[in-house]
């Protein structure tokens, strides 16, 4: 077991990043022209990094598996992006954003990285506005804010329920400008299938052209992974269908440590599952908890009546409703952080109060908000505030303006009108805090290999606060990596182009081809989805919202046997040298089958509950997560040694010098 060095600069917390930037080596513009960088991914992290590196003068090659960089999964982010602008004058500051993030992450993240994130957050908003991102504004023409869970200020900037789309299109436009200048060469419909390491440094990748099936070699002086999260290891999640761990996992196999794989975020407000054929789950943004109140009935007989259709939610009297978040957490109410809200929903449903047929749903109700807004509008417009139907109409208009697209999405899926009856929601897998281990420079344990955005583990500890992933992706790509990578590349100004005609590239290509051949020649009995669904079920049952030693041990065994079965019996139709969507899926599921085991192993090793990682054995009498700071205040970074069972643990101790480590309370 080794110790890991995070490379955090010396000095006072608030001066670290400034001093660091003042003292790093720079690459002069003429030399940048001779340096190539590969970026895998075009989400907020990869898109912003590609644009900025190209603008600085590097030759950038960027890859994504979709048919256009604009379709990266960041596009789906709904609710907003945080920044410590303090435009509302409600007491926000860099320190408070830092504090909220560390506390929200249950004291399992690295102080210096989080402080830097908070520090650059304000630049993000300036940058995006300059790029033409149409954030929501108030009537005075200034930027509007909303609140997200786990904080007491309004620091979230938003563009209706499409914030991710607007930010990503901003990054995409910045990329387009560089593509037009020839500084980014864009490889759409390409999937990275391996990293190539030469003399201990990352020097390229092997990619498959998903249109033709051709295997390609690409070299560079550094490789940046911005390939997103691995929530799809659960099969059902709010992630896009193609979201995968392949890029990160292949890097792991080439020496990049994988950190805290068990830290997963289960988001409290998603549309419940409906059938066996279901392919994905849909998020209802956390922003809805600004105005929606969560409840279940107090009485079992009302639950029964709801389930058999003899009672409607709107007919349940106020005093018979249990607003359990407001009851349990009076200080934060409906805006407790996600891990807390999800566990509370599970607790009520497990106790038999779930409001739909499957017993796995709670209500998210807008009627109070509709009436509140309606009254305000009636007063503003000089209308009769006692006319209930008028007030309701006015209120609905406001709610529509704020969340219209989310309500429409809900109605299209569920076929019920959420303006009239409360939404039904249930927790679903949403985000992975774990990821590739990186140091302060965002470099992995392989020199020259970087990981940014959701793909790395860095800033959110054991639980991410809402609206902070978009912030981190853009911070990494626009403002952090462009500095840190320069410091590394300053040694490469005389290296010259990296040849792809070497034994390292030969070997990597050979391995990739072998795996693809094995998959298509196997001609087994079961489809790829058959295995993915089975894996998903193991993960959800044993590594979901509540975990136990026994369950995790079982999961490890079950995943291993499932993996063996996959390689014996999977059936992938079609060939290699063509567009073959089943083959793409097969490669991704093969990697999930390895990651899943490491995930369970990590969860088993962590004998405490923290953030999204909840071990039933470690709970307070009130059922809250109970940390063990004495033994587990570290990042678990796993080194690949063959089978996931053989992975070796490296610990990065976390030191808190600027914040008092306390029990995390939202009461």
């Amino acid at each position: 077991m080794g110790k890991l060095n995070s490379g955090v600069p010396e000095g006072e917390l608030k001066n670290k990043w400034v001093n660091y930037k003042d003292n790093i080596d720079l690459v002069n513009p003429a030399n940048k022209r001779n340096i190539d960088v590969i970026v895998v991914g075009t989400g907020l992290a990869g898109g912003s990094a590609s644009a900025t590196l190209a603008e600085l003068g590097y030759n950038v090659k960027t890859f994504c598996y979709q048919d256009s960089p604009r379709r990266a999964h960041s596009i789906a982010a709904q609710g907003g992006i945080n920044a410590a602008k303090n435009y509302q004058g409600d007491g926000d500051s860099t320190y408070r954003l830092f504090y909220d993030t560390i506390k929200g992450g249950d004291y399992r993240s690295r102080e210096a990285n989080v402080y830097r994130l908070a520090e650059v957050s304000t630049n993000i908003i300036d940058q995006c506005v300059a790029q033409g991102v149409p954030f929501a504004r108030d009537y005075g023409g200034l930027l509007d804010n909303r609140s997200f869970g786990g904080v007491l200020v309004s620091r979230t900037f938003y563009a209706k329920g499409q914030t991710g789309q607007q930010l990503l299109l901003g990054a995409y436009s910045a990329m387009n400008r560089q593509i037009a200048r020839g500084k980014i060469k864009m490889y759409n419909r390409h999937e990275m299938l391996d990293v190539v390491v030469v003399d201990g440094k990352a020097r390229g990748i092997i990619a498959r052209n998903l249109t033709t099936g051709e295997i390609e070699r690409h070299s560079a002086h550094a490789v940046v992974l911005a390939s997103g999260g691995y929530g799809n290891v659960y099969f059902l999640s709010t992630n896009a269908m193609g979201s995968n761990v392949t890029a990160a996992w292949k890097a792991h196999k080439k020496g990049a440590y994988f950190a805290n794989p068990c830290y997963t975020q289960i988001h409290p407000t998603c549309i419940p599952r409906s059938g066996e054929y279901q392919s994905k789950l849909t998020l209802m943004s956390e922003s809805l908890r600004n105005d929606g109140r969560i409840w279940v009935p107090k009485k079992k007989e009302d639950v029964e009546a709801l389930r058999n259709g003899t009672l409607k939610a709107i007919n349940i009297k106020e005093e018979d409703r249990d607003y359990y978040l407001e009851r349990r957490y009076p200080a934060f109410g409906n805006l407790v952080p996600r891990d807390v809200a999800s566990r509370a929903a599970k607790e009520r449903c497990d106790a038999g109060f779930g409001v739909n047929q499957t017993g796995e749903a709670v209500f998210l109700d807008f009627s109070s908000a509709i009436m509140r807004y309606g009254k305000e509008q009636a007063l503003l417009k000089g209308l009769d505030e006692n006319d209930a139907s008028l007030v309701k109409k006015l209120g609905q208009d406001i709610v529509k303006a704020k969340y219209g697209n989310l309500f429409q999405m809900y109605e299209k899926i569920v076929d019920e009108n959420p303006y009239e009856t409360p939404m039904m929601i249930y927790p679903a897998v949403h985000y992975t805090m774990g990821g590739i281990w990186v140091d302060y420079n965002l470099m992995t344990s392989v020199p020259g290999l970087y990981a940014i955005g959701e793909a790395n583990f860095s800033d959110h500890g054991a639980n991410r606060l809402g609206a902070s992933a978009l912030m981190q992706g853009l911070a990494d790509g626009y403002f952090v990596l462009p500095y840190t990578i320069g410091d590394y590349l300053s040694d490469d100004i005389r290296t010259g182009p990296i040849s792809t005609d070497t034994k390292e590239f030969d070997e990597a290509e050979q391995q990739v081809k072998e795996q693809l051949n094995n998959l298509v020649n196997n001609k087994g009995k079961h489809s790829v989805d058959y295995y993915h669904k089975k894996l998903g079920k193991i993960m959800w049952d044993e590594c979901g919202m509540a975990r136990t030693e026994e369950g995790l041990k079982k999961a490890i065994q079950d995943i291993k046997s499932l993996r063996d079965d996959f390689w014996k019996n999977v059936n992938v139709p079609g060939g290699i040298n063509e567009m073959n969507k089943e083959l793409e899926k097969a490669g991704r599921v093969a990697d999930f089958l390895e990651l899943g085991e490491l995930f369970a192993k990590d969860a088993l090793e962590r004998n405490e509950s923290c953030g999204g990682h909840f071990r039933e054995e470690y709970a307070t009498p009130e059922g809250e997560a109970k940390r063990n700071d004495k033994d587990y205040t570290y990042v678990a970074a796993w080194e690949y040694k063959g089978e996931p069972a053989d992975a070796v643990l490296h610990k990065e101790e976390l030191n808190f010098e600027n914040i008092e480590v306390k029990e995390r309370s939202y009461k």
Partner: protein, 249 residues
């Protein structure tokens, strides 16, 4: 419900392609259209046949990756939704459903229902951006107030997902709705005005060069657009284009 599907199958870009019939049983009305195709594909794989290739990713109507021309309509019979948001409750037992790719000269078929929409990206390369560097050292975000109505209109235009339904539903395969959405977003914001004239000229020229047709104001695009992008954007772009090119000549 039980359905008859007639699906366009085409091995690759060079293949001629044809419609092929499939039967599918026990389709639940709660399934999405793509989940129905997932089930069909599972059955095909089971039988040793080649599954139907189609594009999709987010499955919630935002990435713009899914396409499909269903019973003669881009994204199918429902309004304001993409194919991935279309649910089987819009169909009834015994229906025959025709499923084809989005068709346009500028969107060549890659395989089955998958088309190549990279022409859309190339139009964006021609001017779909504001030339500001990404250093973050711009002015404070609140330095220029923007009237809420302009900001809201810019936002509405910016919600285009680049799916191409407008092109597929236009008898001339025109990309005017798509291009005008981007041009309008920037034209409505002070930040976008500096380069407005070059932007509209370059993007429109590129659109023509990529082989998209002319706009004859039939308005089919607006009807089929899953994001409700308004024809007003086309008028705005026409005004921008005229004024840019009057000044130039």
């Amino acid at each position: 419900m039980n359905l008859k599907l007639k699906i366009w199958r085409q091995k690759d870009a060079n293949d001629k392609g044809s419609m092929v019939d499939y039967d599918i049983q026990n389709v639940s009305e709660h399934m999405s259209f793509l989940e129905m195709l997932d089930v069909l594909n599972e059955e095909l794989i089971e039988k040793g046949d080649d599954p139907v290739a189609f594009d999709h990713d987010c499955r919630e109507g935002i990435c713009g990756m899914c396409s499909l021309y269903i019973n003669g309509e881009a994204h199918g019979p429902d309004r304001m939704v993409t194919t991935c948001q279309l649910h089987m409750r819009k169909f009834k037992d015994g229906d025959t459903i025709y499923i084809e790719p989005f068709r346009a000269n500028a969107f060549p078929v890659v395989k089955d229902l998958v088309v190549d929409r990279s022409s859309f990206d190339r139009i964006q390369h021609a001017g779909g951006y504001i030339s500001v560097n990404t250093s973050g050292n711009t002015q404070d975000a609140n330095a220029i107030p923007i009237p809420k109505d302009d900001a809201d209109l810019a936002f509405d235009a910016a919600t285009c997902i680049g799916c191409g339904a407008c092109v597929a539903s236009c008898k001339n395969s025109s990309a005017m709705l798509f291009v005008s959405a981007k041009v309008s977003q920037f034209a409505l914001l002070p930040q976008g005005q500096v380069e407005a004239k070059d932007r509209v000229t370059n993007m429109v020229n590129k659109m023509d060069e990529e082989g998209f047709g002319n706009c004859t104001n039939t308005g089919a695009c607006e009807v089929q657009c899953p994001k409700g992008i308004s024809l007003d954007n086309i008028s705005r772009m026409n005004r921008e284009f005229l004024s840019a090119n009057l000044k130039k000549s």
